[in-house]
Point group: C2
Chain length 395, copies 2
Amino acid sequence: MTDLVIRDVRPFGGDAVDVLVHDDLIAGIAAGLNAPPGAAIEHGHNALLLPGLVEGHTHLDKTLWGGSWYRNEIGPTRNDRIENERAFRRDGSHDAATRSLALARAYIAHGTTRMRTHADIDTEIGLRHVHATMRTRETLAGAIEMQIVAFPQSGLACRPGTEDLMDAALREGADAVGGIDPCAVDRDPVRQVDALFRLAERHGKPIDIHLHEPGEMGAFSLDLILERTAALSMRGMVTISHGFCLGSIADAERDALLARMALWDVRIATTAPASSPVPPFRVCRAAGVTVYGGNDGVRDTWTPYAKPDMLDRAMHIGLRNALRRDDELDWALECVTSAAAVGCGFERYGLAVGCRADLVLLEAETVAEAIVSAPRRRLVVSAGKVTARDGVLLL
Amino acid sequence: MTDLVIRDVRPFGGDAVDVLVHDDLIAGIAAGLNAPPGAAIEHGHNALLLPGLVEGHTHLDKTLWGGSWYRNEIGPTRNDRIENERAFRRDGSHDAATRSLALARAYIAHGTTRMRTHADIDTEIGLRHVHATMRTRETLAGAIEMQIVAFPQSGLACRPGTEDLMDAALREGADAVGGIDPCAVDRDPVRQVDALFRLAERHGKPIDIHLHEPGEMGAFSLDLILERTAALSMRGMVTISHGFCLGSIADAERDALLARMALWDVRIATTAPASSPVPPFRVCRAAGVTVYGGNDGVRDTWTPYAKPDMLDRAMHIGLRNALRRDDELDWALECVTSAAAVGCGFERYGLAVGCRADLVLLEAETVAEAIVSAPRRRLVVSAGKVTARDGVLLL
């Protein structure tokens, strides 16, 4: 039984309080808390206090984080990037376990305590990336809670054998059923989405499908997904990642899709890329659709960009959607905290008694400043234990 | 007469060399240079070497940098922001000299050695912001070369007296004639652009006009500007800042405007905002139009965003235009180095013998890594003198 008292911190930038942590839970939040005998004491020095940050969509298994610079000379299409990645892997030098561990550690140092990561599955690599990600999850158990999505990056219906591999991954402990562009990548949309829902039903797991398809093509795929979500009553069990089509179809059609998404609590995970149409944040929010954030790939063969810092992603969500007011930047923070916890189904989340003691102390005056300034993380607490101090991981 | 030798640095990530600085100029770049007797020696430890970064468009006079957090509760339109700023100033607490100095110092610490900054002029504040910016320029003379644009933020034709104030600012040492949205803000486009060209001719100074106007309205203003640029043979003397219209008109109309811009060497300064249409970088570049980068406002009443770091701006330019390949990220770097020096008319710029010794040493393997990773600036040299070390200003 261990107690920890963190003195003089400002939850979400409000008035200073103390926080009592008992084992892995928040046991008290109030000014002038009495420390139990033997409790460890941390002085917050008036730091901004946030709940542990949540990464809602990344690809730990693909990252090159911690290695020497990868020179990107790839063609311009998504299929160029998929094919390049497959070729890159064939030489066998990519160590998904080592790289995913390095990146996950960097996430924790930046205050992330929960994460959903997609692990590639295809008929060439089989479950190698799933197993590598699972090793990282075991190594970091207690420091970061990790969901693994069984993700058919190269297609499902178009590569026979993939569905069986996904089935095996879910039996072995993958947390969600992934999918990708049923028309554009798989070229047989009904066959893919039927397979996804079959796997989800069989294993009682949620679905999280990459939907990059633009305009009417994406809207058609989304319609197929919503049809099955309703038919199987899978309320709150489906996430649309990216959903670019929602940023490029007619308003009336978009609003009709959003109304169905709200009805069935189908969520959107967004990276808010600056160079693509995106689901319009204000409109989705007003329609009652949960929108949360993710970095997508961090420094891999697809992209040189992104940082293992969810406040940086909140900033990009704010920039993409022209969120300038302080109250709007609170929404951007929700995308990488509470909304992401709801979206992924992480439990006991937040800054309240009874929540898991996942805490970040930051050098910032307000939430808005924390988002725009990439502030130093003075302290990270994961499930009641100090895991990082001043940006340095203690694991 | 002072000499400085910087050992073991990699220009643009190439092979390691030494750099000899004599007074304020680069006097040699080669491996194994002999240091003149009495020369100061700096060890680069294989750092990436770039020329001093160039800020092509900012507003030092508006920033709140270094103060307590400004809570933004402003309405959604550009005119809301203009009116809010005017009201904010009326209480008299904004000290443009102190704030602009704080922000300019932060720019230098991040390796910026040349800058173009717009200073507000209107009939309420007169030349107060111009004078405040000039004080900062004097204070930092030798550490950063600063151009000041006489900028009629609240309109020119619509506020009688503004043209006289701009005339006075140019007589007192402002370097360029600013303008803003001749239709949308001034509501009398010919009167504004005629005034701008009249001031430019009288003082022999370039024009740099904010053109936020979207679509056909912006294209009309741009047409008026190009017409006068040609009539007065002002080749290489005009910059269009923002130029959002070039991202939202028909391709054929856009290409016709770009061809005229290339013919008269009319440049584009872009912040590459994620939430607006922007001049398409690849298309502009292919058309032979110089595109360079600027942060626009950094943490002011308009926006909480932006950092006094031109590599961060290069990253946003890359993200907005989907520049992922290493060779494409070289273009993003050009936007905040050589293209910005050309665009603003800064002389003796670059990493070559005879150029002014403005140098940045960074902890990065490649140019691309420098752009995406916000690396530590080991050393900044401004006109031959060390001005910052490990991010700490020595002024």
